[in-house]
Amino acid sequence: MNPQILAATTGRILRQLRHDRRTIALMLLVPVVLLTLLYFMFDDQPQIFDRIALVMLGVFPFIIMFLVTSIAMLRERTTGTLERLLTTPLGKVDLLFGYGIAFGLAAAVQAAVASAVAYWLFGLDTQGSPALVMLIAVVNAVLGVALGLLCSAFARTEFQAVQFLPVVAFPQIMLCGLFVARDQMVGWLEAISDVLPLSYAVEALQEVGVHSDPTGTMWRDLAIVAGAVIVALVLAAATLRRRTA
């Protein structure tokens, strides 16, 4: 890893994003619009809004960064920029971390806007601090980036890349404990849920919801998600070959 190259790569990815105003607008506005829908859906049941909105604050960045990253990385592969990058002193880790940092920063802005709307406009109520919610949201976003980088290796076209969203994200969202509490699932479903990183992210958020101070469980969950990020990045690095057929 080379700090100058990593910084240049992170800056380049952020510059690409900056030129794409519509994507920035979608990134910032879509979570707000969905939170608004949620607010009016549970107009007279604020406890349900609190429970779902809290989880959504962590799930949005995961989904959006997964999509954005898998398409961005696929473009690197299909337009030949990846091949060219691999003939330069750039290391694979510089590229992967560059994406992680750049989209992690974008996710931090997204989480700040969504949290601000949820807490101030819609009166979201959590025992713990909004800062912890944002921290978990950013770690989730980086998980989305890491899985997106990995999955892009298995897609040849953008059509294929977007279809990895239902494959990778939907089962995690269905089994994360939002719809059915994890301990009430059939044994084998709970076992699957136990190995999906988003389950831990959601548990961490729920901990923030009901405890005023950060709990040991929350930190453990966050560490598990961070571990999943590392595993996904290592696997993604393994799919980046300098030499191809």
């Binding site: 100058q4 190259i5 240049a8 790569t9 800056g11 380049r12 510059r15 690409q16 030129h19 794409d20 337009t79 030949g80 920029t81 091949e83 060219r84 990058l85 691999l86 003939t87 330069t88 002193p89 750039l90 300098r242 030499r243 191809t244 057929a245």
Partner: protein, 239 residues
């Protein structure tokens, strides 16, 4: 002759097809070598092997005394892919400055390269808004930043107007006289005359490796196009 690149018995398969069949050649340092041949003859595959991104079945490639693809070589090399490989959602200048930064070079070198390919006026434009020819030049700019020791350029002048082509070739020759080694592919024979040495490749085999003058002499014609035709026919008769 001081050798920059030495290719020995190179065999490359892509899919089920053998693209290069025991290909050998040497490329001299500080010169412009033209790699010519019809499309599908293996030019791009050979270039990919030299820059170290192609899986090689057997044989060896040595660049400046090191195996092709070595980490130390990546600092000394510029590679232009056939299809422009620049970021469409960045400006020409942003692209050049990014590739400069990867080589530890600054904005001045990047801006110089942009000027060298005649894109000074368009430096602030997004690559997506450029014409096809301009986009190729933006890609070329990113390869020549800081005059690397080795430049591998896959069809750098395709789609450029004659005046620009002439300027680009003068720039290539200038870089070679400063000590750089250039390997330039083309399928346009009038560009062959501008090279110091020519490699003619057909169906993955080397047909000629000589100076343009020697190629003309051995084929017995002043027209390079005709010379290549005669060499190909002579080889078919021999085979």
């Amino acid at each position: 002759m001081d050798t920059a690149i030495e290719v020995r018995d190179l065999v490359i398969e892509r899919g089920k097809r053998t693209v290069l069949h025991g290909f050998s050649c040497t490329i001299p340092r500080g010169s412009v070598t033209g790699l010519l041949g019809p499309s599908g003859s293996g030019k791009t595959t050979l270039m990919r092997a030299i820059v170290g991104v192609q899986i090689v079945k057997s044989g060896s490639i040595t660049v400046f005394g090191e195996p092709a693809g070595s980490a130390s070589l990546r600092r000394r090399m510029g590679y232009l892919t056939q299809a422009p490989s620049v970021y469409a959602d960045l400006t020409v200048r942003e692209n050049a400055r990014y590739f400069a930064a990867l080589h530890g070079l600054g904005a001045a070198e990047a801006d110089q390269a942009v000027a060298d390919v005649g894109l000074k006026q368009a430096a602030g434009q997004l690559v997506a808004t450029l014409s096809g020819g301009q986009r190729s030049r933006a890609s070329l700019a990113c390869a020549i930043i800081g005059e690397p020791d080795l430049l591998v350029l896959d069809e750098p002048t395709v789609g450029q107007d004659p005046v620009l082509r002439d300027e680009l070739w003068k720039r290539f020759q200038e870089m070679a006289s400063n000590g750089a080694t250039l390997l330039v592919s083309s399928h346009v024979m009038d560009e062959a005359a501008r090279c110091e040495r020519l490699l003619l490749i057909r169906e993955g085999r080397l047909i000629a490796d000589d100076t343009p003058a020697a190629v003309r002499a051995s084929a017995g014609t002043d027209d390079l196009d005709e010379a290549f035709l005669r060499l190909i026919r002579a080889q078919e008769v021999a085979a």
